[in-house]
């Protein structure tokens, strides 16, 4: 039994896979529009996954299978470790929202007996990842994260702890979303991202190709605490400490991708980032922000309007994938936060030997 309390470990990304209606390149997927595409029009499960056996999987389950296979093609190799040492992290907020709605409609019209038996197990959101876990024999453990907006980065933070504590040797993270029916919650997102992960030290020792290294941190800033000066000052200190944990002082990030809303929590995050050049998300291709600009944004300061609140976790996950794929340049920071108080940070560093050696020393210390 491990008795040490691990800090946030440096994660090595060994493979990246992206599936989106706007293409499977993170560069194009990250700036995709928000209009929902009927799943069958852009994703054919028979050509993407195989001629048989995938018909009854919800679209989101099909997307993560395709993304995980792409991550394997990208040299991610969870099978290098024993099946019971492979963990699985699923992040989704609305991946099954459409299915839930259709189940509700069926029950209302026909009763529970009208629900397709093959679809019925998916009333539980964590079942969404079962097929992927089975296909890749991810038998160590499985966790599902459903926090609005921060779920994928929250999963990375938990994964880092799981790897550092020896709970597993490798992880597959799958983040997936499907559009929310009727445009609820801003309409949602569509597609999937998969990352294969190992401890940086172990990946290097194994001689595997590392795409990038990550350091993550998730925290909670109680929104009510921001009502008073004392609470705001405390939040400032906590956020500054989190940034210090994630960012090496000698290497300020070359790019900061922020995924925020118009809440006081996000404002506190922006304040903590003061002095760091910020790259806001690209506006959706299908038009200006559909719900209008947020009331509390300050375009004079940011230079661009912040997007409306979104519930999906795909935006931050795609930003991480894009940063991993960047390969060149300095560190990138992805920051996401919601008005509910959830804040998640991840630093993405292009892989370089010196970084890993420094991290080894830091982890050994």
């Amino acid at each position: 039994m491990s008795t040490r309390c691990p800090g946030p470990a440096e994660l090595a990304v060994t493979g990246v896979g992206v599936v989106s209606p706007w293409g499977d390149d993170p560069e194009t997927a990250v700036v995709g529009g928000s209009a929902p595409f009927p799943a069958g029009e852009w994703f054919n499960h028979r050509t993407r996954l195989g001629p048989r056996g995938y018909k009854y999987l919800p679209s989101a389950a099909q997307y993560i299978l395709a993304a995980a296979r792409a991550a394997q093609v990208d040299r991610g190799c969870p099978e290098a470790h024993p099946a019971d040492r492979r963990g699985f992290l699923l992040a989704t907020n609305a991946g099954l929202a459409g299915l839930f709605d259709s189940m509700d409609a069926t029950i209302a019209a026909e009763g529970a007996a009208g629900i397709s038996p093959a679809s019925a197990p998916y009333f539980a959101v964590n079942v969404l990842g079962n097929r992927l876990a089975a296909e890749l024999s991810l038998n160590g453990f499985a966790l599902t994260f459903a926090t609005a907006r921060t779920a994928a980065v929250d999963a990375l933070s938990t994964g880092a702890l799981a790897l550092a504590s020896g709970r597993c040797d490798t992880l597959v993270l799958a983040a997936v979303e499907e559009p929310v029916p009727d445009g609820r919650g801003g309409g949602g997102e569509q597609g999937a991202v998969a990352l294969t992960l190992e401890p940086a030290v172990a990946a290097r020792a194994r001689g595997t190709a590392v795409r990038a290294t990550l350091r993550t941190r998730s925290l909670f800033v109680p929104p009510a605490a921001l009502d008073g000066a004392q609470g705001r000052a405390h939040a400032d200190r906590v956020l500054a400490a989190a940034l210090t944990q994630v960012l090496p002082s000698a290497n300020p990030p070359s790019t900061v991708h922020v995924d925020l809303d118009s809440s006081p929590v996000s404002a506190a995050v922006v304040a903590a980032l003061a002095g760091i050049p910020v790259r806001l998300p690209e506006p959706p291709r299908d038009g200006p922000y559909p719900d209008g600009p947020p009331e509390d944004d300050d375009p004079a300061r940011t230079g661009r309007l912040l997007p409306p609140r979104r519930i999906g976790c795909l935006g931050p996950a795609l930003a991480v994938a894009r940063a991993v794929n960047a390969a060149k340049g300095g560190d990138q920071l992805v920051v996401c936060a919601t008005g509910a108080g959830h804040v998640a940070l991840v630093r993405v560093s292009p892989y370089r030997l010196t970084t890993t050696q420094e991290s080894e020393h830091a982890e050994a210390a």
């Binding site: 048989r52 056996g53 018909k55 009854y56 007996a113 009208g114 397709s116 038996p117 093959a118 197990p121």
Partner: protein, 87 residues
């Protein structure tokens, strides 16, 4: 000519339905192919077949009758019997 029972049940339509439910080529669903042994049907897919049969043919299948759904031929005979009963 379509193979039908006196109930008017069309075996080829039934074959198409079973192939669709099981995500198989129609040619694989031969009269005697065993759903479990030959077509890898598990308990969930067996239930899926049952629900689709009930919806398509407007019959109610008792739990004791589900054991008869082992091949296209046996399903055809069971459905034919049920349809004649309801007329």
């Amino acid at each position: 000519m379509a193979d039908t029972t006196t109930s008017g049940l069309d075996k080829e339509q039934l074959r198409d339905l079973v192939a669709d439910v099981l995500d198989l080529d129609v040619a694989e669903v031969t009269d005697d192919a065993h759903f479990v042994d030959d077509l890898d049907v598990d308990s969930l897919m067996a239930l899926e077949i049952t629900v689709r049969l009930e919806k398509e043919y407007g019959v109610r299948l008792a739990e004791t009758e589900l054991a008869s759904i082992t091949s296209l031929q046996s399903t055809y005979e069971l459905l034919g019997h049920k349809l004649r009963e309801t007329r």
